[in-house]
Amino acid sequence: MLHGSHSSSSRQTPASPFSGLAARLLSGKLRKYDWVAFALLAPTLFFFAVGVLYPLLDTFRVSFLDWTGLSRPKPAGLENYIKLFADPNFHNALRVTLTWTLSCTFISVAIGWSFALMSGLAPKATAPFRIVIFAAYGISETASGLMWLGILQPEFGLLNGVLRAIGLENWTNPWLGDPDTALWGVISAYVWTQAGLPLLTCFAAIQAIPRSQIEAAYVDGATNWQILRYIMMPLSLPGVSIAIFINLLNSLKAFDMIQILTAGGPIRATETVGYFMYQETVVYFKQGYGAASTIVLLLAIMVCSLPLILKRSSEAR
C-alpha cells in the first residue's frame, strides 16, 4: 500500500512555480514573481478577449435587442428567444440539425474507424488509401461542394449519368431538388470531406497500441478478426472519441457545403441552425433574432463539447 502510494506520487509531474495562480489571484495573496505569469499570459489573454470574449459578450447583448443594423437598437427583453422557440422554421432547423449532425458524425466516424482498423492490420499496404481518403479532408469545402454539385446535378450530373449508363434509368433523381433526398445528398458530400479526420485519429490510436500486445495475441493463436475485435477496437476508442468530438463540432458549424449545394433548400429541407442563423442575420438583417439563434447554437456546441472537456481536464489533473 505504502509502496503503491509512493509509486503513484513519484509519477506526478513536478508542480509548476505558477500552480495555484488563479486561487492566489482570487484570494489576493499573489507572490512576488507571479507577475511573470501574467506577463506571459497577457498576449494570449488580450487576443482571446478581443477575438473571442468581446464578440461573444456583444452577441449575447445584441440577442436582447430589436435591431436591423440601420435602425436605432430597441430593447427586446426575452422576445427574440421567445419568438425563436415558437418559430416553426427554427423547429425545422433544429430537426434538420439533429439529423445532419448525428448522420454526418456517425457515418464519417464509422467510415474512418473502419478504414483505420483495416489499416491497422496492414499499415504499409494501405498507406496509399489512407493518403487518398485523408486528402479529401484537405480540400476546401467550397471546392468539394462545387465538385459534388456536378455529381448530383439532375440533367448532366455524374451520378445520374452512371445510373443511366448501367440501365438504372428509373433510379435517377434530381437528388438536390427533392426535399426527401436533398439532405442525404448534402450529407454524402460532407461525409466525403470529413471521413479523413476520424481515419487519422483512429489510426494514430491503433499505432499507439504496444506491438508486444499484438504479437502476444498472435503467439496465443488469435486470428486477425480476434485481434481487431478484442485489441484494436477497444484500444482505439480514445481516437474514436476525439473523432466524434471534432466531427460533431465541425458538422454543427457546417455552412459552405450547404450554401453551395442547396442554399438551405428545397423548401428548407437542408436548413440547419447554422444556416438559419446566417439567413436571419446576414440575409434578413434581424441582428437581435440572429444573435439569439447564435447563442442557442453556441449552447448546443458547449453541451456537445463539455463531456470531452471535463474528461480531458480530469485526465490532466
Binding site: 434530381p174 438536390l176 426535399p179 442547396t262 433548400g265 428545397p266 423548401i267 440575409v283 434578413y284 438583417f285
Partner: protein, 422 residues
C-alpha cells in the same frame, strides 16, 4: 550662375506645385460605388465625364470589400462604421425605405424641380423612389424583368412563327414545342427565379396598383387576385409547361439559360435583361437574330402594358458633405452625355435623353418599353427581406403541389409573415 540656376529650378517646382493647386478642385464628391465588373467601369467613366464638366469638383470613389451578389451587408457595415459619403448607388427599394425611415437619406424634390428631371424620368420611375410623398432617388439604369427569352430557331422548328403575346396562345404553344422535342418552359426554382413567374403573372392578372398595395401590405396575400394568379400559374403547369418539380427545385437560372439559349433544349425562360450579355458574350449568339424576347403574355387586357423592372438609382445621404455636388452628379448621369456613356456599356437607362440607336436591337427594344410601359419594380426586391424568404419558399411549395389546399396554405403563411414584419 549656379545660384541662379538653382533658384530658377526651385521656382519652376514651386510654380508647378502651387500653380497647379490653384487650378485643382476645391470641392469633393464622395460616391459609394459597390458595383463590380463593367458596371463599376461605367460608373468610373461617368465620374470622369462629370469631373471634366465640373473641374471644381473632385470625385472620390469608394468601394467596399463586400460586393458581389448582395452588397447590402457591405453597405450596412460601412454605415455602421460611420463611413461618410455623399451618394450611394442603390438597387433595393426595401433598403432605401429602411434608410428613409431611419433618416439617412435626403429628399430630392427640390433638386428634381430645379434641374427639371421630369423631362428625363417619367412619373412611374419617379414614384419608385417615393416614400411618404417625398422623392429620395433617381433611377439611371433599368432592366426588363418581364422578358420571355427564346431562340428563334427553336420557335421556327416548332412551327411557331410569332411568339404568342396572349396567355391562351402562350399555353397553346406548349403543345407545338413538346411535339418538336423541346421542354416548353424552363423554370430554375432553386433559389429565387421562380418569383419572376409569380410577379409577372400577378402584374398581368391584377395590375401594378394591386401589386403596389401588396408590396406595401395594403392588400392581403389571401386576397382573391393573389389566388387567381396562383391559379393562372397552375393552368400553365397543367398545360405541361415544365419539368417535374424536383428538377425545377434543383435548377439555377443559369442552368435554365443554358438549356433555353445555349443548347436550345427548351422553349422559353423568364429572367432579367442581364441574360442578354450572357447570350451574346458567352454563347456567341446574335441579339435579335439568334435569340429574342417578347413581353410576358397578357392575361387581363386591362393590364397589358404592365412591366416588371429592376434598376439602380442614386440616393443622397442626409449627412452628405456636398449635397449640391451630389445633385449635379445626378443631373449629369441623367443628361444626354451621361446616357451616352451608359449606352456605351450596353446598359439601358430610363432617361428619356438616351439615344436608342446606340443599342443592339434587343436592348433598344426593352429600352423603348421602359419609357412606354406601366412599370413596377420587381416585387421580390420590394418586400422586406424576411417576407421575401417566405415568398421564395412558398413558391417552391406551390411548384411541388399546385393544389387549392397548397394555395390556401401558402397565402395564409405569407399573410401571417407579412403581419409579423410590417
Amino acid at each position: 550662375m549656379k545660384f541662379m540656376v538653382g533658384t530658377s529650378a526651385l521656382a519652376l517646382v514651386a510654380s508647378a506645385m502651387f500653380g497647379g493647386a490653384a487650378q485643382a478642385a476645391d470641392q469633393e464628391l464622395v460616391i459609394f460605388n459597390w458595383l463590380g465588373g463593367s458596371e463599376r467601369e461605367m460608373i468610373v467613366k461617368l465620374e470622369e465625364g462629370f469631373e471634366a464638366k465640373y473641374p471644381e469638383i473632385d470625385v472620390k470613389d469608394i468601394n467596399p470589400a463586400a460586393g458581389g451578389d448582395d452588397a447590402r451587408g457591405g453597405i450596412r457595415t460601412a454605415l455602421l462604421a460611420g463611413e461618410k459619403f455623399d451618394i450611394l448607388i442603390n438597387t433595393w427599394p426595401s433598403l432605401e425605405k429602411e434608410m428613409v425611415d431611419n433618416g439617412l437619406l435626403r429628399p430630392l424634390d427640390g433638386a428634381w424641380e430645379q434641374y427639371g428631371w421630369s423631362s428625363a424620368l417619367s412619373d412611374s420611375w419617379k414614384n419608385l423612389s417615393n416614400h411618404d410623398g417625398k422623392t429620395f432617388g433617381a433611377y439611371f439604369i433599368a432592366g426588363n424583368r418581364s422578358g420571355l427569352w427564346h431562340r428563334t430557331d427553336v420557335m421556327k422548328s416548332a412551327g411557331i412563327e410569332s411568339v404568342p403575346t396572349e396567355w391562351d396562345g402562350f399555353l397553346a404553344s406548349f403543345g407545338s414545342l413538346s411535339e418538336s422535342g423541346k421542354l416548353p418552359v424552363f423554370i430554375g426554382a432553386r433559389s429565387w427565379a421562380q418569383t419572376e413567374w409569380f410577379e409577372n403573372a400577378l402584374l398581368k392578372t391584377a395590375g401594378t396598383d394591386f401589386a403596389g398595395k401588396l408590396a406595401r401590405h395594403e392588400a392581403k396575400w389571401t386576397d382573391e387576385p393573389v389566388k387567381a394568379t396562383f391559379r393562372n400559374m397552375r393552368d400553365m403547369l397543367q398545360a405541361n409547361c415544365c419539368a417535374d418539380a424536383e428538377t425545377m427545385l434543383s435548377t439555377h437560372w443559369t442552368d435554365a439559360a443554358d438549356a433555353v439559349l445555349k443548347d436550345g433544349k427548351a422553349g422559353y425562360m423568364l429572367i432579367g435583361t442581364w441574360v442578354n450579355s450572357r447570350a451574346s458574350n458567352e454563347y456567341a449568339l446574335t441579339p435579335g437574330d439568334d435569340y429574342d424576347f417578347v413581353q410576358f403574355p397578357t392575361i387581363d387586357p386591362a393590364h397589358a402594358d404592365a412591366m416588371s423592372v429592376d434598376g439602380k438609382n442614386l440616393v443622397v445621404m442626409e449627412n452628405a458633405a456636398n449635397p449640391e455636388a451630389a445633385e449635379k452628379f445626378i443631373d449629369y448621369v441623367l443628361s444626354p452625355e451621361g446616357s451616352e456613356i451608359i449606352a456605351q456599356y450596353g446598359q439601358a437607362t430610363p432617361s428619356a435623353h438616351s439615344d436608342l440607336s446606340g443599342y443592339d436591337p434587343v436592348v433598344a427594344k426593352y429600352a423603348a418599353l421602359l419609357q412606354s410601359s406601366d412599370v413596377f419594380f420587381v416585387l421580390d426586391d420590394l418586400l422586406p427581406a424576411e417576407l421575401s424568404g417566405e415568398f421564395r419558399v412558398s413558391l417552391q411549395k406551390f411548384l411541388k403541389d399546385p393544389s387549392d389546399a397548397t394555395i390556401d396554405a401558402i397565402t395564409q403563411a405569407l399573410e401571417a409573415k407579412a403581419n409579423e414584419v410590417y
